[in-house]
Assembly symmetry: D2
Homo-oligomer: 310 residues x 4
């Protein structure tokens, strides 16, 4: 039960449609909200590094099958002897979207009936060889920007976000205000929802779609977070819990609509518990964030190991 | 024909054995020369960023088959419709070692008859599930350090290194001196050999092992570069051309011996032509370098997209 | 609760060890019990074909994830246009052992502490490149023999075998006798346990190891079936349910011990419901059986589509 | 230089269009010319087995890279210990169309501007999840029919077919007549062109498209063979060499047009040298042929190990 009135459906649609960034950087732009990460922004981000402490925001490559890991990643080994020595090499294979692999979504990843980012038609842009618009290669130069921790469990005084209480945009505002950390254009926000604490409390419940295809319930971020994202010109959303489900509005995408509507980068399934701990230890809410997607032409995203550096 | 006397075999073996870093950071250490990248080193690296210009050092994910790409990377697409929208997802599969994929080698990747890094036995440490020592997860916090460009073609006044004239350690010293850029402990050196210019000049010659398994000739770095690496306590070698072949000493590994002997990180098959151009344009030889390997437990390395930031 | 006394552990071990076929066809033989399928046997099998009705014993390639399908098979498409036309091609990838994919086990697939088939040491014979002994290529000429249906649910008058009542060797004897169909040397027996009826009755229970690795219970064939197999010199066991679990004897393999002890071919996860129906319709218990494994050097088995022809 | 006049383009187009089998077994039929393999045909085929000698027509699973094997098949191993024993399992992955893997083409595999088999539109029938028409599952009950060897090198008195002299339909007629073996409706013809002898004589020349995408020359069957196939109502073409290239008519498909025009099954890259030898030894030109494709829903074909049984 939210402390503030729920958005109505027309308000949600207005968020996605009326406030979209289509055309803001040209109608053929494939970079999206990462245009907000200017060279100046990059330089400023590096100045946040004062201690040289680096924290990985990546979960382990998800090789183990399980109810929450329908398509386990593949890791196959090989050793090759040579006279006087030898070497080991391996094969990695991964269908990385979903709820286990830490990965970044490219702008071609999602769409609604009005289309992909900048209004492109997925029927035309997505083919057997990859995407011809909005592929991950548009971000090959990497993402280096200011990261801001928004720690919801700390704010609420609970171990984790739960199904009965999704994270709302106004709550993110509250956190910023309470912590005295304004979010600025081009920032990456790291919304920590305590996914691992939730999983420990619910060991048999997969986060995300269980097998069978029935209705999915999962705790996470309410679509109202889009308002916060758009108001502050956020460029990157790093999160451990994803969209709250059911989204409640009979729309195909909730927060994931930020990809095609605003052109933002989503970094799904981040490991944020160690980062939250580091923020507490350093008594800081901001840091340099680096994400370096693989350079895959036409790819819909990339597995990634984001780094937060204090 | 080198301008200085060639190392003799016992000198090469001494470089690999007598000057090894085994035990330097403890006999069970799995971090290797990256121990030289201290927090202070990271902070200093970030201060090299003054313009906010970022350059990718990654080649494209090598999907296309060819004589130089025996095992093409896999990229398979899928679209999934939903009421009112849909999404695209894809599968990446890659046997990334070899001469095409830009990737980092973990400390478990190579060995000679004396063993892997820190003297471990590959028979014991390498299994069907991955490596139990020296896997890429040891570097999950990423590599953030000072990068130094060593541009061999510019130094020589030629388009590229060629088969008849491998790069020697003393030549790297010469470059540093001439450019006035000393290499320091924990640095990443980016040794640019003009691989792409060489490929344009030799369009039908694969770089690296052609099919058939006969003797392989390829231009690149002579084993004497190990001396430079060890003298300066280099932590990371980023290169576009790899070991000069044949290595000339009947040893299983030349510069790649630096992995098991010194514990250095090799970033193979980097794309350095754009970086060389950027260095020339910025009139600089140093920058912040970031490499963020995937967090694969027991992996022998990782595909990567290294970033150089000015 | 079995109608006849349970085998004691020493009787089970005697079955596996004292009655093994090691050396029966030479100590280096890799063909195993398929030596019993002589040319004469093949000819005779073809004479069982009188109506020309062919029935597939293969389940669908298991692409769909689920609690019983930890590693879904991969099927990725590609279309390639050409002037005036085009074509479609696809990629198949499968880790086919387990409980979903219809497949045949090679002689190198299982072992106990005494070793693999013919006493070979798996440490020596199994490597990163495949098996050097007992690989599936030993059966490249295919399996063409007499198939005999042993329909347990029909015999019992129930829809399927259940956890409380595993199939015993003496029950297979009873079925043969009652149906008047003797099993002969070199035969393939198709032991139908009603797995699909069982699955329909237990829709949420995976057949075989669920995630988590706890103890596994599943209905199936008791190790006593080995006695039947050895007494009749069966060459091939085609089954829909596999070993009854727990096997009850603290041994690594129950019926699957027939691979390394007797050299028999196991065809796991067959689809036998349509075959049982066809047998009833044709009022026959025997037919020509054909299995044609892929010719993979060093492979531990092969996905297969076995055919029963009446 | 052919001994008989070359077909003109309009004759070729007439072969593909006017003599097509579209609608012959109903407009929604997905079985194609395999409808000609009636139950009676199957029974008769089994009666050709008189000696019980079985010959595999499959090449080895093509794991090795090379100029003729742009996408090597994947074979990755795993061993799993258990108390008192263990097992080995493996992963197979293959993009099996092309010129190395022995495989069968489904009816959805090729098309020209008029469409796929039975006039279907590939744009509608081929998607990311596979084909919705003409997939390989239509042949899950396997192919059991009479096989007839057509040995071109023996007929010509040469080791192999060569680039300067493609195989024509009239030559197949000549072979049948000379050998006294009429081809009948529903037969599988095994057209042996001596591909392996050709490869031994041309060790550095890949059969089929080399890298680079330039014009491809390769010896093989001329499009005129379609006339022979259609005249005799052949159901299956098993061949070691494929379409002669360049086809000479500026059409997208030559003999491969038989898939969409006649609904025939093509078994590409068969290993026919051992079969030719067996035919000579047995002094026979006919045998039972069995092909058992994997049961992949929507698949465009299947790797296969065809068996010829004498």
């Amino acid at each position: 039960m939210p402390e503030k009135p729920l958005l109505k459906k027309d308000e949600v649609l207005a968020l996605i449609r009326d406030r979209s960034n289509w055309g803001r950087w040209g109608k053929d732009d494939q970079v999206g909200a990462l245009n907000l990460v200017t060279p100046q922004k990059r330089v400023a981000a590096t100045r946040l590094v004062t201690k040289g402490r680096s924290v990985s925001l990546s979960r382990e490559f998800p090789k183990e099958p399980g109810p929450g890991n329908a398509y386990p990643a593949q890791h196959y080994m090989r050793t090759v002897p040579r006279p006087g020595g030898g070497f080991a090499a391996d094969y990695y294979g991964v269908f990385y979207h979903g709820v286990q692999s830490t990965h970044i979504d490219a702008l071609c990843h999602t769409w609604d009936e009005r289309g992909m980012w900048n209004g492109r038609d997925p029927e035309k842009e997505i083919g057997f060889d990859g995407a011809t618009f909005g592929g991950i290669e548009a971000w090959s130069d990497g993402i280096i920007t200011r990261g801001v921790m928004l720690d919801v469990p700390r704010h609420r005084g609970v171990p984790s976000v739960t199904q009965d209480r999704p994270v709302h945009g106004w709550e993110l505002e509250d956190i910023c205000q309470k912590r005295g950390v304004p979010v600025e254009a081009g920032d990456a926000i790291c919304v920590y929802s305590g996914r691992d604490a939730w999983q420990r409390a619910n060991p048999d419940m997969p986060y995300g779609r269980p097998f069978g295809g029935g209705p999915v319930d999962r705790p996470g971020l309410h679509v109202s977070c889009l308002e916060f994202i758009r108001d502050h010109d956020v460029a990157v959303l790093v999160w451990d819990m994803l969209d709250y489900m059911p989204n409640g509005y009979d729309i195909p995408w909730a927060v994931h609509a930020g990809i095609f509507a605003y052109g933002i980068a989503l970094l799904d399934n981040a490991l944020l518990e160690p980062l939250a701990r580091a923020c507490a230890e350093e008594n800081r809410d901001e840091f340099m964030l680096v994400i370096s997607p693989l350079r895959v032409k036409g790819g819909t995203g990339s597995p990634a190991n984001p780094l937060a550096v204090f």
